[in-house]
């Protein structure tokens, strides 16, 4: 009896959450990111996506969740050059951080066709090059696993009333995308203009030497550039376009929280941030490079890294 009452209250809470519009918390001058018309933001969808993000049942043997590689303490990067998949396949490219990922015009290191987080979700979960979470051909298994959890059934019903709470890879990707869009980071010392003298000097140098590509509020022009020597092991953008001019071109990464998202570059080959700067071939002196590094350190948003709204959810089944 008590159990039924609790369930009824939980259902009411979920229903109320559906009606709650999503409210972006953004600094003055920052517009909300683009959101696909077919997947509007809602608090309950974000909560569902957060739960899924940390759920290793999205991998074939239950050992790997999105959060296995995207660790909050590293601004949702990984800390390794690359990361092997569930079957031990070697990882190919470095795990990027996720701060402000909603504003990025394309996703992944070298595929301009992937422009929504909904599309991107299937790459690690279902992809084969390389195998990461190993669920290729296992979409029904995802439905099976999630559907046997009463909490998930309630969450999906609340988050996707227009889909009648359908639990499938489409809904999973939509919820994951919503959660990742909520990962907003605009509270670094550089945002608050609380830079050290070294960081302040570094900002001017950065504007001169780096900002032509690392441009805008997320420090990326969204374009693809060849910075490192070409390698036959990873041809970058050319792998999807077939154009020789795209050999070795990779997307300019965002520099939000860059000091904690190493190792750096698409293959994680730069073990230190200083090494990463050097590999760009800039003409900075050692002293100037230290100043730029001071500025890059000031792009770390500690409130984002510690934000409980992005952390592993409690075991309970509550939603906003």
């Amino acid at each position: 009896m008590i159990g039924r009452a609790v369930l009824a209250l939980a259902t009411l809470a979920l229903s109320a959450a559906v009606a709650a519009p999503w409210r972006w918390t953004l600094p003055t001058g920052v517009s909300p990111p683009p959101v696909p018309a077919g997947n509007p933001m809602s608090a309950v969808k974000v909560a569902l996506g957060r739960r899924l993000f940390y759920d290793a049942d999205l991998s074939i043997d239950g050992t790997m969740s999105c959060a296995s590689c995207h660790e909050q303490k590293r601004a949702f990067a990984d800390g390794n050059p690359t990361r092997p998949g569930v079957h031990g396949d070697a990882g190919r490219r470095n795990v990027p951080g996720l701060a402000n990922v909603a504003w990025l015009p394309s996703l992944t290191w070298a595929d301009a066709r992937v422009t929504t987080l909904e599309d991107q979700a299937s790459i690690p979960i279902l992809g084969l090059t390389p195998v990461e979470m190993g669920m290729h051909g296992g979409e029904r298994e995802i439905t099976h696993r999630l559907s046997r959890d009463a909490c998930y059934r309630r969450h999906f019903r609340a988050a996707f009333p227009e889909r009648r709470g359908r639990i499938d890879m489409t809904s999973v990707a939509m919820a994951l995308a919503s959660f990742q869009r909520s990962m907003v980071s605009f509270d670094a010392p550089a945002d608050r203009n609380t830079l050290s003298p070294q960081g302040d000097a570094g900002r001017a140098l950065f504007a001169r030497a780096c900002a032509s590509c690392h441009a805008g509020p997320n420090f990326t022009d969204g374009s693809f550039h060849a910075i490192l020597p070409l390698s036959s092991e990873d041809r970058g953008l050319a792998e999807v376009t077939g154009e020789s001019g795209d050999e070795g071109r990779f997307r300019t990464p965002s520099l939000r929280n860059v000091a904690v998202t190493g190792p750096w570059f698409h293959d994680g080959a730069a073990p230190t941030l200083s090494d990463a700067v050097v590999r760009h071939g800039t003409s900075l002196t050692d002293a100037e490079r230290d100043q730029v590094l001071g500025y890059l350190e000031a792009l770390t948003d500690n409130a984002f890294i510690a934000n409980p709204a992005f952390a592993y959810p409690d075991d309970g089944c509550s939603t906003p």
């Binding site: 290793a56 049942d57 043997d61 239950g62 050992t63 959060a67 092997p84 079957h87 031990g88 070697a90």
Partner: protein
Amino acid sequence: MFNALFAAMLMQATAAAHTTCPAIAPPPAELSGWTSPRPLAAGRTATRATELTPGAAVAARLPSTRDVRYVVRPEKPGGSVSHGGLFTFTVTAPGRYRVALGSGAWIDVLANGKPATSVAHGHGPDCTGIRKMVDFDLGAGRYILQVAGNGSANLPLMVAKLPA
């Protein structure tokens, strides 16, 4: 002498690591017991945690994660289709202890219900079947070892004291 249980464990571990091994390599001296594991079923709760003896390897049989009640929620607990379990071991001689695993499962060593902080971690030597090693500085006492998010119900496992 490598026993049959160890050979099966090694095949599983090397397959998971995509390592090509022309021959089985001996483990480091401090883990010499690794090649002679005895079967052991993991516990599902702290009160039913099964006993490990430092220096002796086990071929652990792990229950489903759904059936395990961890003392502290693991940082990476694994999905419902994964496996985990609880063990206990006693330290009589304080020092640095190594937990060696045949997989990349998450582990916690708990003292009085709180996770001990690891001091080092890394991969095991190639072709030994040791996939992961985590070191802890431990005082005398009784500890709980939580294993979480293992992809298989089988896990080669060992706790060993390292030379001072």
